[in-house]
């Protein structure tokens, strides 16, 4: 049940999906992989929206060069663990929710433990090898993965529902070469916001998800585009031959 303060805090979005929808958000545990550019936007909007349990994981410390886009962190946080800074910002935005912020490197060894109690996974990583780990974990647990990635003015997003949609490996069979990417805060804002919107729709059962659709944002030309995708029957991660 929502208390009076919660009904007031969330009153504008309760108009969208009712108190029932808000209670569903409150009961949802989310795992946010990364507290960088995408993780900042995702975690801030998820905290503000009232997702009940947020676990955010990042192994890095805040650097001055992060601050053009990583809006979870302030100038005074330079040199501090991103997880610590994230915890303070998120609980400051919404003290009604439970926030757990961990200084960890996500790996095959700890991913099961990190995902305990989480109902959905938010991809805010900066590399494909860890994204593939998240993808596999989502498939094994049959929980959704909300993918997003950015570079410069460009970004992409899709929603992966195990057993129903193409998985990340179906869409991106191979990781692109690791490079230092240019990053603009507002691109993180666009893509991270799309990912959170997808998660809200999934939990509250509203709207049409980005299922089997890869959305592209080209900020330089102000264009949104999408491509249809489908499960690859020979996918090494999600094909029936694997499970």
């Amino acid at each position: 049940m929502l208390d009076d303060a919660e009904k007031k805090r969330y009153s504008r979005q309760i108009r969208l999906f009712g108190e029932d929808g808000q209670e569903k958000l409150k009961r949802t545990g989310v795992f946010i992989a990364g507290a960088g550019g995408l993780g900042s936007v995702i975690s801030l909007y998820m905290a503000a929206a009232g997702f009940g349990k947020i676990r955010i994981v990042d192994c890095d410390v805040v650097e001055l060069s992060n601050l053009n886009r990583q809006i979870l962190h302030a100038n005074a946080d330079v040199g501090r663990a991103k997880a610590q800074s994230a915890y303070e910002t998120l609980t400051g935005i919404n003290p009604e929710i439970e926030v757990e912020a961990l200084v960890e490197t996500i790996s095959e060894d700890n991913i099961d433990q990190l995902l305990q109690g989480s109902n959905l996974i938010m991809d805010a990583m900066d590399n494909f090898p860890v994204r593939y780990l998240l993808n596999r974990a989502a498939l094994q647990r049959k929980i959704p993965l909300f993918h997003g990635a950015i570079s410069g003015y460009q970004g992409q997003a899709t929603t992966i529902i195990p057993g129903k949609t193409a998985c990340l490996r179906c869409i991106f069979p191979r990781a692109p070469p690791a490079t230092t990417f240019p990053a603009l805060g507002s691109t993180c804002g666009v893509i991270g916001s799309i990912q959170v919107t997808e998660a809200v729709k999934y939990v509250t059962g509203t709207g049409k998800l980005l299922e089997n659709r890869l959305l592209f944002w080209d900020g330089l030309n102000g264009c949104l585009d999408e491509m249809a995708c489908e499960r690859n029957t020979a996918c090494r991660e999600c094909s029936d031959r694997v499970h």
């Binding site: 997003g148 990781a175 692109p176 592209f216």
Partner: protein
């Protein structure tokens, strides 16, 4: 076939039937960095495309 390239330009090539992998090679595009849609649907490099097909090649990103 008509091809939309990652830089936004367009090209038309007169291949009756070619593997996506070979088309990318011909265009000098590293297949690891792009995804290709044939008539709006993402396809693997092993697929083929013909004269009537429209390809769109997009460079996907990995940052966060």
């Amino acid at each position: 076939m008509k091809i939309a390239l990652p830089d936004g330009s367009r090209k038309e090539i007169a291949e009756k039937c070619a593997r996506i992998e070979d088309i990318l090679k011909q265009l000098g595009i590293n297949p690891v960095e792009v995804i290709v849609a044939k008539n709006g649907r993402i396809v693997s490099e092993e697929e083929t495309a013909g004269l009537e097909d429209e390809l769109k090649i997009v460079r996907f990103v990995h940052g966060g």
